[in-house]
């Protein structure tokens, strides 16, 4: 009884360790031991100082728990081991603790300090596990501790710990709901997290704690949409469900126009294959004219980003996307989910069960969607009955005039099945088909009539019931069938069927005036031998006949009533007495007598045969409530579409400019990315902060220049191929928005947006330029060409224009990897031939401890405004004005180049053609990567292009000619020294170490006085980062600021330290090998801070 034999074996193991007095004890596992004794033995083992014995004991205890045995009296003995060094013992103790802490609260508190210590551990996994167990102990007294721990963990630098914090939130909430407000704060904070690891868990917490606080989602909506594909599968389900609800409250119904349409046109609408959608589009477009509806771009974003998830292997994810489309997509687009749902029908029967329930609901509203898959719902004899019945439901829903004959033929096979429940359901289904499709009503009816001769009672009863219903719809036309059924009374023995027939004849005795009395005569004869339900119906028939045809049936009725009067069954006797009083006029009988006819022969409404799944879609599909057709606990009602769209601007994220900017620019780099790369892009630096270097693979190298939005925006574009019209529409809107967004000078964001716009234009003209590059760029170009699925928008062109360079810069690297989803690595300190190692280096550099570390390594353009310089004045350029700025992004083609963003506006009133760069005059070593030729620039149009210049870490100007089809302009670009570098991230220690190496000659110090406006921390950082492209380095001291960067070409470190003294005095220190750069930088920064 006690420990099962399986543990006996393990015990044997422990005994071999030479502890006979514990391990061998037969009482420990023997059937004779009492509970008390057994536990005594376990206690002893737990108290020993041998880990193996403790482990053995814990294993047995856990096995007890697993089998549902009570082990709570061991609590004191177990809890002592919480601090055990052995990791397995520790784990098992945790298991025990979580299970019993609630019952032994006081003792459980003993363990708390262990976890509190764990929360401070330098290892993120230990921190996470401590938080996990701490939050799982359901002891109300530690609520404040949990709250503190969660708050702390929510701002932990490890995303894994933050994820655990998100998990802990609902635990705490269910323990003490008073903490709600504080928890919402934490949720709000975590919602802003940018890592995929956290996203799923925090949304889950949101759903459980404050699903009504939809306003918390606004700012994170776009981010969630973009991250979605890389979130782990369970998180995806939760996020999709939440976003469905969100979208229902924030967007307008995409089908508001189409609701005017009739069901019939709807059918044509989703013939559902891809081709049809175009027609549908056209139709939708024409409708849109009538009453303009424009889908919110955010609404579109959601639909677009969820669609690929239909390919998930996880049925729950597929279902979640399917319900999202069903509830949110324009009718014309819902069709895409059908294929995926049909695929799920191949899965386990439980999955089939749920999917079929949902398909059944969908197929009522959107029949056309599943029609092409009709055959996938055919029933196999090996299907479980519940699946068969659901498939039948779907088949019935899908039946229409065109396919009814095939369906009915299929039904015919089903009727002969051995599974009688299923046969009964089939008969019902036939009945429904017959009521819905007039054409086949007679065929069905005849078929059903034949079934009346079936031997199976269930089949006959079901048929009679269905026939009864069918006849009720139009009894006049079917007197033949009623006659036929009357004849059947001779043969049919099934009581239920006989009873039903009698009811029918009674009800429609007017249609069969001759037969009815005859049937009554026969039944009267056999009355005594009939079953009770038949007898009741005989009485019923007699009564009805008496009322309509009393001449012929008066005596018979009397006879039947007399028989019934002496029946053994009191029900029948009662009925007889009741009916006699009602119909036979006597002196005593009251007013009811007059109404007898009305009572018995009242028009009975025809039963409506409709699917039990009708109107189930008011429950959110895929939910438990939908499945049960009843509101489950905690079900969140799916809100109706609003009449007026709420303000869409709430979703605009105005937080740091640079975030927006990076995402925009990334959108441009149409570089094939592994789709999971986002997470690394986002979390890379933070993640590696604590984990071993191995965990950051080569992937993160390539990803560091990608970002969440890069992949998602690619997707936008790819998807766009199918929906170009919309895409255009949206682009227009996007550009509009951007124009609004602002002046093309100052804000980086707007520069980027314009750049994008320009790139799009450039793309139109890019074909020529592309050709010229194709030869030099061997593999890359082919790859990118092959990847262009015809849908390329600006970004792709941009990528093409940049890619060739990379192959020139490092052909060796590329052949090594041969992945066109690989993005060239950012500037390297040491040029290396091996991508993996270099990217690893960058990752190591990414080890950082600051808040800013969320920004991808070396990639983020530091915040602050970007200064625009003039390249060609409008007057000098004869109407052509050219400005440039340093966008501070790594030049995609070549890490050693500085990206210069050039903006050309044509202020003339003629077109400017073939705008290009030629005859660069450069100092030795300098290189230039010109932008692709702009074929044509319309009057008052603006183009924005990017070119790369390798300045060789000098501030010498790059001179070149800017040519149009008519003129040549000599121009030069001189970089400010601050632009010759790119930020790197390093930890404080690294910084100090590096600084130590760069003393003496390499150190330049300068004293300065901070200007009035540069006294705040923020302003100082802002000024420095705008003066030079440097990254902030964390710093322990309050009055000190540190920045680090590497020169773009040689990768030598530039370290900037600013130490605030009393008042406005400060000391600036720059450490760099490159003394010239250092000197100039000092000058620039001092100027920036002192002005």
């Amino acid at each position: 009884m006690a420990a099962s034999p399986a543990y006996g074996e393990e015990k044997g193991g422990s005994s071999s360790l030479g502890e006979p007095e514990y391990g061998h004890d037969p009482a420990s596992g023997g059937i004779f031991s009492s509970d008390y004794k057994r536990h005594d033995d376990l206690k002893e083992m737990l108290d020993s100082n041998k880990d193996s014995l403790k482990l053995e004991a814990m294993k047995r205890i856990v096995a007890m728990i697993a089998r549902g045995k009570n082990a709570s009296d061991l609590f004191p003995a177990v809890v002592k081991n919480v601090a055990c060094k052995n990791i397995e013992v520790k784990k098992l103790v945790y298991v025990y603790l979580v299970r019993y802490a609630e019952e032994q609260q006081d003792l459980a508190l003993l363990s708390i300090s262990t976890f509190q210590r764990g929360l401070k551990d330098p290892n993120q996994l230990i921190r996470a596990s401590a938080l996990r167990v701490l939050s799982s102990i359901r002891v109300p007294i530690i609520v404040p501790i949990m709250m503190l721990a969660i708050k702390e963990a929510a701002s932990d630098m490890s995303p894994y710990v933050r994820k655990t914090a998100a998990h802990a939130i609902p635990k705490l909430y269910s323990l003490d709901s008073d903490q709600k407000d504080q928890l919402i704060e934490v949720i709000e904070k975590l919602l802003a997290d940018k890592t995929t690891l956290v996203a799923g868990s925090v949304v889950m917490a949101f759903e459980e704690v404050c699903p009504e606080r939809i306003d918390l989602i606004h700012k994170n909506y776009r981010k969630l949409c973009n991250l979605l594909i890389d979130v782990e599968e369970w998180g995806q389900v939760v996020i999709i469900n939440m976003l469905t609800r969100y979208a229902r409250t924030q967007f307008l119904s995409p089908n508001q126009n189409e609701s005017l349409l009739e069901e019939s046109t709807e059918k044509a609408f989703y013939g559902s294959e891809e081709e049809d959608t175009k027609d549908a589009k056209a139709e939708a477009a024409s409708l849109a004219k009538r009453k303009p509806y424009v889908m919110d771009p955010d609404h579109r974003l959601l639909l677009r980003n969820t669609k690929p998830l239909l390919q998930s292997r996880n049925a729950a994810v597929v279902m979640a996307v399917a319900q999202l489309y069903f509830h949110l997509a324009p009718k014309a687009e819902v069709g895409v989910i059908a294929k995926a749902l049909v695929r799920l029908l191949r899965s386990h029967s439980e999955v089939q069960y749920v999917v079929l329930q949902n398909v059944a609901t969908m197929s009522i509203k959107r029949r056309g969607m599943f029609e092409p898959y009709l055959k996938s719902f055919y029933i196999r004899s090996t299907d479980p009955t519940q699946i068969k019945i659901l498939k039948l439901e779907v088949l019935t829903n899908l039946a229409n005039e065109t396919n009814i004959s095939t369906i009915l033929r299929e039904f015919q096979t089903y009727i002969r099945s051995m599974d009688k429940d299923f046969v009964a359901a089939t008969i019902q289904a036939i009945g429904r088909c017959a009521t819905n499709i007039g054409k086949v009503r007679d065929t069905c009816l005849n078929g059903l009539v034949q079934l009346l001769s079936n031997r199976d009672e269930l089949v006959v009863a079901e048929s009679v019931v269905v026939i009864k219903k069918l006849l009720q719809m139009q009894p006049a036309q079917h007197s033949e069938i009623i006659k036929h059924m009357a004849k059947l009374t001779d043969n049919i023995q099934v009581p239920m069927a006989r009873a039903s027939i009698l009811w029918l004849i009674g009800e429609y005795c007017e249609h069969v005036p001759k037969i009815a009395p005859d049937v009554l005569r026969k039944m009267a004869k056999s009355f005594t031998n009939e079953e009770d339900i038949v007898k009741l119906q005989v009485i019923n028939l007699a009564a009805k006949l008496y009322l309509t045809n009393s001449k012929q049936s008066k005596l018979l009725t009397q006879y039947v009533l007399n028989l019934a009067k002496y029946d053994q069954n009191y029900d029948i006797r009662d009925r007889a007495r009741f009916i006699r009083q009602l119909i036979v006029p006597t002196e005593k009988s009251g007013a009811l007598n007059k109404y007898a006819k009305k009572l018995f022969l009242a028009q009975k409404p025809a039963p409506i045969l409709e699917s039990s799944f009708k109107d189930r879609d008011h429950f959110q599909l895929g939910s438990l409530s939908h499945l049960l057709n009843a509101k489950a606990v905690g079900y969140q009602e799916l809100p109706n579409w609003p009449d007026e769209a709420p303000d869409p601007s709430v979703r605009n994220v105005e937080v740091p400019e640079w975030t927006k900017c990076t995402s925009r620019e990334k959108r441009k780099e149409k570089v094939e990315k592994p789709f999971y790369s986002d997470s690394e892009g986002e979390s890379g630096p933070t993640e590696s902060a604590d984990s071993e270097p191995e965990s950051s693979s080569e992937e993160s190298g390539s990803s560091s220049s990608s970002g969440s939005s890069s992949s998602s925006s690619e997707e936008e574009e790819e998807e766009g191929s199918g929906e170009q019209s919309e895409e255009k529409e949206e682009e227009e809107k996007r550009t509009k928005r951007k124009e609004k967004e602002g002046s093309r000078k100052a804000a980086l964001g707007s520069v980027a947006s314009e750049e994008e716009e320009g790139a799009r234009k450039a793309k139109k003209k890019v074909s020529q330029g592309k050709k010229s590059h194709t030869e030099t760029s061997s593999e890359e170009a082919t790859a990118s060409e092959s990847s262009s699925s015809g849908s390329d928008s600006g970004s792709e062109g941009d990528a093409k224009q940049k890619k060739p360079l990379s192959s020139r810069a490092g052909p060796k690297e590329i052949s090594l990897l041969d992945l066109d989803d690989f993005t060239p690595p950012p500037p390297q300190p040491v040029p290396s031939s091996n991508i993996i190692s270099t990217s690893l280096v960058t990752d190591l550099e990414g080890l950082t401890l600051t808040d800013t570390s969320l920004a991808p390594t070396l990639l983020s353009p530091a915040f602050g405004t970007v200064r625009t310089y003039e390249l060609l004045h409008r007057m000098a350029g004869e109407g052509l004005s050219v400005e440039y700025c340093f966008s501070r992004r790594p030049f995609p083609g070549d890490p050693h180049m500085v990206a210069v963003q050039i903006q050309i506006s044509n202020n003339t009133d003629t077109e400017v053609k073939s705008l290009r760069v030629s005859e660069p005059k450069l100092l030795s070593g300098m290189r230039i990567q010109e932008f692709p030729e702009i074929e044509c620039l319309a009057p008052s149009d603006t183009a924005s292009v990017v070119m790369g210049i390798d300045f060789c870490d000098s501030t010498q100007a790059a001179n070149f000619q800017l040519c149009t089809h008519t003129r040549h302009f000599y121009v030069s670009i001189q970089p400010p020294v601050g632009e010759l570098m790119a930020p790197v991230f390093m930890s404080e220690n690294e910084f100090k170490k590096e600084q130590g190496k760069l003393m003496g000659m390499s150190e330049i110090m300068e004293k300065l006085t901070l200007s009035e406006k540069c006294r705040s921390d923020h302003a100082i950082v802002q000024q420095v980062t705008s003066a030079a492209n440097v990254g902030r380095v964390p710093c322990g001291a309050d009055n000190e600021y540190r920045f680090a960067a590497k020169t773009v070409t040689s990768g030598s470190l530039v370290l900037v330290t600013l130490e605030r003294r009393q008042g406005a005095a400060a000391q600036l220190t720059v450490n760099s090998e490159k003394m010239v750069i250092g000197t100039m930088l000092v000058k620039d920064i001092v100027q920036a801070l002192a002005q």
Partner: protein, 508 residues
């Protein structure tokens, strides 16, 4: 024994003392929270255990289901007044494993304990359903919902308390079963009982507070090492354990499905393209529906972080695909190439559906003559199986099964090859044919004896067919090439094709 007890007592005293200090330290406003525990509702949510069947009563004896235990469970539903508003929202509250005879042999709770009496509702439904697979996957009870899956003759019953997408739970339960299978080779009651501690630990890691935490078997295996014979021996000698002594970094990695630091001496990657034909053939031999469902299962044992690409000769064939999360979706969308960093070991890379437009070649035909005569107690039974459209490959592993009508008492049959059995209780006929020799077609002939007095069955039995064809993907799908990047060694690559019968039925 005695000395041991004495030894533990001081410890308990110490414990009490220690308990005081933090208590005082913490309390303040919190103390007011503690009396509330006693206010918790002691009534169990289920119907109580009175109605449990005999077998279950035995389980309940372990001290389960008492009022005390019922207490915390109800905390969410009817606990303190101020706690009424939030539902005790947890995805999966508890899990019960129930065997075919109705014994609960494992239970795991991720939150407060739910009494096993809740399973009574499940048993009720189980009794109502004629067969195990007809037990509804979702059963509502007054306070909980029971979601179950049935695999390997075990019911995995999850208890949930509030709205949750049912597929979420069902898919998760299947993932649990898959994990067990992965860990122990087979997922059976005996196996689970033998490895109960590992099972328990795995379950602990898979869910946190009822929400899935680590479901990738690669990560789980890093957390808790699967038991092997060798390891058991080593553990016994060295006293080491199954729990990984390093902390798993997989969860934190950028490719969460792959273990870090994988090393092999032989680097190999095998891919099996397996296609299954689902078909319904009608009486006359014409195809009612037929479709091909394929999967590519992989066994990849490669060192380091290899990046693989797999391309097909005819990728357009694939109509509908679903991927392992490792596959880069974009790449597939644009180029129809599978590009991925594989998990370590066995995994399903891809499953696909071949578009319905393509006519499906049916590789076998069945000639049948099954007839019952009215009034006679004998029926004739004759089946011949033959090849058709096999592209020159042999059909192997043919197996014919058929569920005979209830009226059939026995069958006297002689096969031309293979062996056959008929179970008079379940009325299941199965004929293990083996290979089909096109020169001499296998056949099974004989008579059936029917129950006297009953009339002939309505329906002829359906014939289910299983077969295998090696070295052939019936859809014509071909892998073009497999390339590896990111690592320097040359792996051994292998691709195998196979066609199987899926749900292949012949109506007679």
């Amino acid at each position: 024994m005695r000395s041991c007890g004495a030894r533990s007592r001081p410890a308990a005293v110490v414990a009490g003392v220690i308990a005081r200090t933090p208590l005082l330290g913490l309390s303040g406003a919190v103390v007011s929270g503690s009396p509330n525990q006693s206010a918790r509702c002691p009534t169990p949510p289920g119907k109580g255990r009175g109605r449990g069947r005999g077998s279950r009563c035995r389980c309940a004896r372990g001290g389960r289901g008492s009022g005390r235990r019922g207490g915390p469970r109800c905390a969410g539903a009817a606990g303190r007044a101020r706690r009424v508003s939030p539902p005790a929202a947890v995805m999966i509250h508890s899990l019960f494993l129930i065997n075919a005879s109705g014994d609960i042999f494992l239970e795991k709770h991720w939150k407060s304990v739910v009494s096993r009496s809740v399973c009574d509702y499940f048993f009720e439904a189980q009794e109502r359903a004629s067969e195990a697979e007809n037990v509804p996957p979702v059963i509502p009870t007054p306070h909980h919902y029971l979601l179950s899956v049935y695999r390997h003759k075990i019911f995995f019953v999850a208890v949930i308390q509030s709205e949750v997408p049912p597929l979420f739970v069902i898919e998760f339960l299947h993932r649990v079963v898959d994990t067990f299978q992965d860990y122990f080779g087979v997922c059976s009651e005996v196996m689970i009982k033998d490895n109960v501690v590992v099972v328990y630990e795995v379950l602990e890691e898979m869910l946190d507070n009822g929400f899935p935490l680590a479901t990738e078997s690669n990560i789980l295996k890093e957390l808790i090492k699967p038991p092997t014979i060798l390891r058991t021996v080593v553990n016994t000698i060295t006293g080491s354990t199954n729990v990984g002594d390093q902390l798993p970094t997989g969860q934190l990695s950028v490719v969460p499905w792959r273990r870090t630091g994988v090393k092999y001496t032989n680097n190999e990657a095998y891919f099996d393209v397996i296609e299954e034909i689902d078909a319904i053939i009608d009486k006359s031999g014409s195809t009612i529906t037929a479709e091909i469902q394929g999967v590519i299962d992989a066994c990849v044992k490669l060192t380091g972080m290899p990046d693989l690409t797999l391309s097909f000769m005819n990728p357009r064939l694939l109509d509908d695909v679903s991927f392992h999360p490792c596959v880069r979706f974009k790449r597939w969308e644009s180029e129809r190439i599978l590009s991925f960093i594989p998990p370590d070991g066995n995994f399903r890379l891809l499953s696909y559906h071949v578009s319905a437009q393509n006519l499906v070649a049916i590789p076998v035909y069945v000639k049948h003559n099954i007839s019952f005569r009215d009034g006679s107690s004998l029926g004739r039974f004759e089946i011949t199986v033959g090849p058709k459209q096999t592209m020159g490959k042999t059909i192997e592993g043919v197996m014919v099964t058929s569920q005979m009508p209830k009226g059939v008492l026995n069958m006297t049959l002689t096969p031309s090859q293979g062996t056959h059995t008929f179970d008079p209780v379940t009325k299941l006929l199965s004929w293990d044919v083996g290979k089909i020799n096109p020169q001499k077609l296998p056949s099974l002939k004989g008579s059936m004896s029917l129950q006297a007095g009953t009339s002939k069955p309505d329906e002829n039995p359906t014939i289910n067919l299983q077969f295998k064809i090696q070295q052939l993907a019936i859809s014509g799908l071909k892998v073009n090439r497999l390339d590896m990047y990111g690592e320097k060694y040359k792996p051994f690559k292998g691709i195998k094709y196979m066609t199987k019968a899926g749900k292949f039925q012949v109506r007679t």
